[in-house]
């Protein structure tokens, strides 16, 4: 009987047999599971040392499986100084096994250890491959979603509405400027459609256009700042496209628009180390707690931004699966008197994200 160690469960499982427990091909009848340390086999696994028992009736460790047998020989299968299994042989007669048997079985154990280890590695590789496939399909799915979520339709139609206002009120220069900016944004977004990754510089440009359009729509009812660290290779480093858009929309709609007076939004891209860069989106709005309270009382709560947030979390998860650094943190800000004074979103990403 050959047992293999299941490391996770710390038990020995019967895997292959010759004798009454194996009557058909490679199938074992009632396969036994033994905790490492229990019985003769368990003892051999725990101590990595063979046992030759001449009379099992005198050994308290003996556990009968399908029938009682009087002598037993068990040798560990060792690979990389670790017990990976046990070969066990039993006989009805007392004093059946000799030192010669022990030597032979030890040799067999050492030969098979290589084969078993090889097979195990193969299974692990296959599992890893399956996991990779899973990640890839998750990736493909989120790619589709990302394409669909490129632009908030509500934003698009509101822009068109604002352009219409300029025409109706005969502010033709403003209408034209508005239309140009809107066309520029549309072109940027369309050019990048299908691409999952985008240079930091381009992401920043799209965000700037978006914010300029929203500023026009709200008669400059808020201020914004866009900062790119000069040490950061913003034209070269890639990041997930349209990733920051929902955070910016959130800051604008749920942080700033609920507030009276001075409204400010700061977006920054900074070099953290050779391998990591940081994006920061900070607003001086009403804060997350108050915003959530307002939302709770509102009959119609926005669904779009929260959908995007969920998608962003998935995208970060995928990047982590691909062994990149990807983290996100949302911090509630407070002023000197302890009053909420805004929200800060910090996203950290690897500088070496590659297009696949």
């Amino acid at each position: 009987m050959v047992y293999l160690v299941d490391e996770g469960k710390n038990v020995l499982e019967q895997k292959a047999a010759f004798g009454p427990k194996n009557q058909r091909e490679r199938e074992i009848i009632n396969p036994l599971v033994i905790p490492v340390g229990q019985g003769i086999v368990g003892h051999v696994a725990a101590n990595a040392y063979p046992l030759l028992i001449n009379d099992t009736t005198k050994d308290a460790r003996y556990m009968a499986d399908d029938e009682l047998r009087c002598s037993e020989l068990a040798v560990p299968i060792i690979h990389d100084q670790k017990v990976i299994g046990v070969i066990d042989s039993e006989n009805r007669k007392k004093d059946f096994f000799t030192q010669e048997h022990l030597k032979t079985l030890t040799t067999i154990a050492s030969i098979s250890s290589f084969k078993i280890a090889e097979a195990k590695t193969e299974i692990l590789a296959r599992e890893h491959e399956l996991k990779l496939l899973e990640v890839n399909s998750l990736f493909a799915e989120s790619q589709l979603k990302a394409l669909r979520a490129q632009m908030n339709p509500h934003f698009v139609f509101n822009c068109l509405n604002s352009i219409q206002e300029c025409i109706v009120t005969k502010k033709y220069n403003e209408a034209s400027a508005y239309l140009n900016k809107f066309a520029k944004l549309l072109r940027q977004v369309l050019n990048r459609s299908g691409k999952l990754l985008i240079a930091i510089e381009d992401e920043a440009e799209i965000l700037t256009l978006y914010l300029e359009l929203e500023q026009m729509r709200f008669d400059h009812g808020f201020q914004y700042e866009m900062h790119i660290d000069p040490d950061l290779e913003a034209d070269d480093i890639l990041m997930p496209s349209m990733f920051l858009q929902p955070f910016v929309e959130n800051a604008l709609w749920h942080g700033l628009m609920h507030k009276q007076g001075d409204r400010k939004l700061c977006i920054g891209f900074f070099k953290t180390s050779e391998d990591i860069f940081t994006c920061i989106i900070e607003d001086n709005g009403i804060g997350r707690k108050k915003s959530a309270e307002l939302k709770e009382h509102k009959v119609l709560a926005h669904g779009y931004a929260s959908k995007c947030m969920k998608m962003n979390a998935e995208r970060l998860e995928i990047l982590r699966h691909q062994q990149y650094h990807a983290s996100m943190e949302i911090i509630d800000l407070y002023d000197n008197t302890g009053e909420p004074s805004g929200t800060k979103v910090i996203v950290e990403l690897s500088t070496n994200i590659l297009a696949k």
């Binding site: 339709p153 509500h154 698009v156 139609f157 509101n158 068109l160 509405n161 604002s162 352009i163 219409q164 206002e165 300029c166 109706v168 009120t169 729509r217 709200f218 008669d219 709609w253 628009m257 609920h258 307002l294 009382h297 509102k298 009959v299 119609l300 926005h302 669904g303």
Partner: protein, 249 residues
């Protein structure tokens, strides 16, 4: 002469409506504006509008919050929205009026004309608004109740109750479960647009059916037999679609 209140958080959006009303609606005489729900409610004390143009998506309080706070409006509401499929469906299901932004002048004229022509009683209007508020409490639009005005007043029913709808020039006969039926002064096209996302199928130029109530097809796919026993003609070009429907059942 009609008095009008425009509620929208965006100054530009209010401005467009104001201009369009001045240019296209000669009956409009007193047009006022409010930049939010609270401001509008404060105005209602000394101003009683005939029509309120109400933006759906506003920060702090939405247009629907206005409706909830006003409870039984003495005016007609025409909703305005840039894009919100859920809100639009809720409004359509309650047989209320809405305009999409950017505003189309002809659609605006049509909505105001419907206000001038309407014969619905105050009670009926109140029921329609209540239905809208009730619908907004449902997450899934499938659970919305459809409101249909007929000569006897408003009827309310869920999508699953509809077996089929039959066109009759500019009217539509709606056949419901339990043998109920009534006639709406809307075209079949109106219902087709409203119900196609719930997999209703137009099997003939005069017939829209709910596949959930389709039992079988007879006569070489030319007749659909519905759960209430009614037999509905299938047009030649729709035979293939109906075949697929039966297969997937």
């Amino acid at each position: 002469m009609i008095r009008i209140l425009i509620i929208d958080d965006e100054h530009k959006a209010r401005n467009i409506l104001h201009h369009y009303l001045v240019d296209h609606i000669p009956e409009a005489m007193d047009i006022r504006q409010a930049d939010g729900v609270d401001a509008a409610i404060a105005m209602l004390g000394e101003f009683s509008p005939d029509i309120v143009f109400l933006d759906v998506e506003m920060p702090v309080k939405s247009g629907f919050d206005f409706l909830v706070e006003v409870k039984s409006p003495s005016f007609d509401i025409i909703f305005t929205t840039a894009y919100n499929q859920y809100a639009i469906q809720a409004i359509r299901f309650s047989a209320l009026d809405y305009l999409l932004k950017p505003i189309d002048a002809d659609e605006l004229k049509g909505a105001v004309q419907r206000h001038l022509d309407q014969k619905a009683s105050t009670r009926e209007k109140e029921e329609l608004y209540q239905n809208l508020v009730r619908n907004l409490g449902k997450k899934d639009t499938r659970d919305f109740k459809i409101a249909v005005s007929s000569a006897e007043g408003a009827h309310f029913f869920v999508i699953d109750d509809i077996i089929r709808i039959e066109a009759d020039s500019s009217y539509a006969h709606i056949f419901l479960t339990e043998g109920k039926r009534f006639t709406a002064s809307k075209t079949l096209k109106h219902f087709e647009e409203m119900l196609e996302e719930y997999s209703f199928v137009r099997i003939h130029k005069s017939h829209l059916i709910n596949p959930a109530h389709l039992l079988q097809v007879n006569g070489d796919h030319s007749i659909a037999v519905m759960r209430d026993g009614s037999q509905v003609e299938i047009s030649r070009r729709k035979k293939e679609d109906v075949k697929k429907l039966i297969k997937t059942k």
